[in-house]
C-alpha cells in the first residue's frame, strides 16, 4: 500500500466556457502524505480539485482516485471535500448541519462532536452557521469533510482568515490524519504552510510548473526561501516558453 498513489492525474484538460483552465496536467499524489497545491488565484487549483472529487466536467485526460475513476459512486464516502466558499446550511446550527451530513455519509452520530472539537468550534456548536464569522464558517465547512472515515481529503484553502494558533492546530491535525493513513491534498497560498507539506504542486495559468518536495525545490533554485524558489521556477518556465 505504501507505494500506491491515492490520486493519479494524467493529461487532464478542463475547459470552462472557452479557454482551457487546466492544460495537460499530470501528477500523482502518494498515499498517507500531505501534498500542497499552490498557485495564484485563478490558476486552476479549484478546477483541478473539482476534477479530483468528480464534480467537474473535463475535456480530456484521466483522473484516478483510490484506484477508481474520479466520480465513481464507490468513492462517495471515501473522499472528504471542502470547497473554498464554505458549503454548509447557514440557517442551521453548526451541530444540526453536521448531523445532517453525517447521516448522509452514514457516519456514526458521535462523529459530530469529534469533528466540532477537531476544528475548535465547541463554543459555537449551537450557533447558526450563518451568524458565524468568516473563519468560523469555513471551519464549519471543513468539519463536514472530516466526518466519517475519508481516505482522501481534498481541502481548498482551508486555513484562510484563521488565527495563527488555529492554523497551526489544523496543520497538526492534517499531519495526524496523514499518519493514520489519510491522504491530503490541500491548496494554500501561504508559503509557511507550503513548507509544512511533504510534496508541493505549483500551478500557474492552468499548467503544472513543479511537482516536488519543498527541500528539492529549494535546492533546485539555490534559495532557502520557498517564495524565491517559486519566483525562480516561474521565471525559468517563462524563458522556456
Amino acid at each position: 500500500m505504501t507505494n500506491y498513489s491515492a490520486v493519479v492525474v494524467e493529461g487532464l484538460r478542463v475547459r470552462r466556457g472557452g479557454p482551457e483552465v487546466v492544460q495537460d496536467v499530470s501528477f500523482a499524489v502518494p498515499t498517507r502524505t500531505v501534498t500542497g497545491l499552490l498557485g495564484p488565484s485563478g490558476c486552476g487549483k479549484t478546477t483541478l480539485m473539482r476534477a479530483i472529487v468528480g464534480v467537474q466536467i473535463v475535456a480530456g485526460g484521466k483522473v484516478t482516485v483510490l484506484g477508481r475513476p474520479a466520480g465513481h459512486p464507490k468513492l462517495r464516502d471515501k473522499i472528504g471535500y471542502a470547497t473554498q466558499n464554505p458549503a454548509t446550511y447557514g440557517d442551521l446550527t453548526v451541530r444540526e448541519s453536521l448531523r445532517y451530513f453525517a447521516s448522509v455519509l452514514g457516519a456514526p452520530a458521535s462523529d459530530v462532536d469529534r469533528v466540532i472539537s477537531e476544528v475548535g468550534l465547541e463554543p459555537e456548536a449551537k450557533q447558526l452557521v450563518g451568524r458565524l464569522s468568516g473563519g468560523q464558517h469555513s471551519r464549519a465547512s471543513l468539519a463536514v469533510a472530516l466526518l466519517g472515515s475519508p481516505e482522501l481529503l481534498v481541502l481548498d484553502e482551508p486555513t484562510v482568515g484563521l488565527d495563527p494558533v488555529l492554523r497551526d492546530e489544523l496543520w497538526e491535525l492534517f499531519w495526524r490524519l496523514a499518519d493514520s493513513g489519510v491522504t491530503l491534498l490541500v491548496s494554500t497560498h501561504v508559503m509557511d504552510e507550503a513548507a509544512r507539506c511533504e510534496r508541493l504542486l505549483l500551478m500557474r495559468e492552468g499548467r503544472l510548473l513543479a511537482d516536488d518536495t519543498p527541500a528539492a525545490l529549494r535546492t533546485q533554485s539555490g534559495s532557502e526561501d520557498l517564495e524565491q524558489a517559486f519566483l525562480h521556477l516561474i521565471r525559468t518556465s517563462e524563458v522556456v516558453a
Partner: protein, 244 residues
C-alpha cells in the same frame, strides 16, 4: 433510494424552517387569511362556496412553487448541492426528502385553510374532507416539483421569482377558477387541457359538490399525481453530479 438519507433530508429541511418561524407563519396563515378576504369580497356564502374549492388548490400550488424554486436555487448557488453530489446521496433521496418536508407543511396549510373555510366561512364539503386534503396536497407536491424543475433555469432568486407568472399564473387563470373552462375561448379551453391545475380544480369542485367518487375524479387524481411525478423526474434530471 435510501430511506435513512431521505428521512435525514426531510428532517434537515424542517429544521431549517424551524429556524425561520416567520416563513412558517406566513405559509400557514396567508392562505387562510386570503380565504377570509374572499369570503367578504364575495360577501355571499354561496358565491364563496363556488370559488373556495379551486382556491384550496391554487394557493398550495403557488406557495410551494415559490418556496421550492427559491430553496433549491439556494442549494445550487451556495454549493451545498455540489457537496451533497459528492456524497452517497441519491438525487431522489434529496427530492423525496424535500417532498416529505414540504408535503407536511402543505398538509397543515391546506388543513387550516379548509378547516376555517368549512367551520366559519360557510364552505360546504359534500364529499370526504380527507379526499379534499389529498387533492390539495397532491397539488402542493405538483407545485413543488415544478418549482424544483424551473429552479434549474434560474441563476438568481430574482429570475426564479419571474418564473412564477410564466408557470403558475396561466394555470391559475385557465383552471376554471375565474370562468368555467367550457365558457372560455376554444383555444384557451383546449390549452387548459394540458395544464395539470385544471384537473386538480375539477377534482376539488367535484369533492365539494358531491359525495360520489366517480371515474372523472379518479382520473383527475391520477393526472395530478402523475404530473407531479413527471415534474419530479424532470427535476431530478436537472440535478447534475458533474457541472462545467
Amino acid at each position: 433510494m435510501n430511506a435513512t438519507i431521505t428521512w435525514a433530508t426531510a428532517r434537515r429541511v424542517l429544521t431549517q424552517l424551524r429556524h425561520d418561524p416567520r416563513t412558517v407563519a406566513l405559509m400557514m396563515l396567508v392562505p387562510s387569511l386570503l380565504m377570509l378576504l374572499l369570503r367578504y369580497m364575495f360577501n355571499s356564502e354561496q358565491a364563496f362556496s363556488q370559488a373556495a374549492p379551486a382556491l384550496l388548490g391554487v394557493f398550495p400550488f403557488l406557495i410551494m412553487f415559490l418556496i421550492t424554486s427559491i430553496t433549491t436555487l439556494r442549494e445550487r448557488t451556495t454549493a451545498t448541492l455540489e457537496r451533497l453530489m459528492t456524497m452517497p446521496l441519491g438525487k431522489l433521496d434529496l427530492l423525496f426528502g424535500y417532498a416529505i418536508a414540504f408535503g407536511v407543511l402543505a398538509t397543515l396549510q391546506v388543513a387550516l385553510a379548509a378547516g376555517i373555510s368549512v367551520a366559519w366561512l360557510g364552505l360546504d364539503v359534500e364529499g370526504s374532507m380527507w379526499l379534499l386534503l389529498l387533492i390539495a396536497v397532491l397539488d402542493a407536491l405538483l407545485g413543488m416539483a415544478l418549482g424544483l424543475f424551473v429552479s434549474a433555469f434560474a441563476r438568481t432568486e430574482f429570475q426564479a421569482i419571474q418564473f412564477m407568472p410564466i408557470f403558475v399564473l396561466p394555470q391559475a387563470l385557465l383552471c376554471g377558477l375565474f370562468v368555467p373552462r367550457d365558457q372560455m375561448g376554444s383555444v384557451l379551453d383546449w390549452l387548459s387541457n394540458f395544464m395539470p391545475l385544471s384537473y386538480a380544480v375539477e377534482a376539488l369542485n367535484q369533492v365539494t359538490s358531491s359525495a360520489e367518487v366517480d371515474g372523472t375524479l379518479v382520473r383527475d387524481l391520477i393526472i395530478v399525481g402523475g404530473c407531479a411525478i413527471v415534474a419530479l423526474m424532470l427535476g431530478a434530471a436537472t440535478l447534475r453530479r458533474r457541472t462545467p
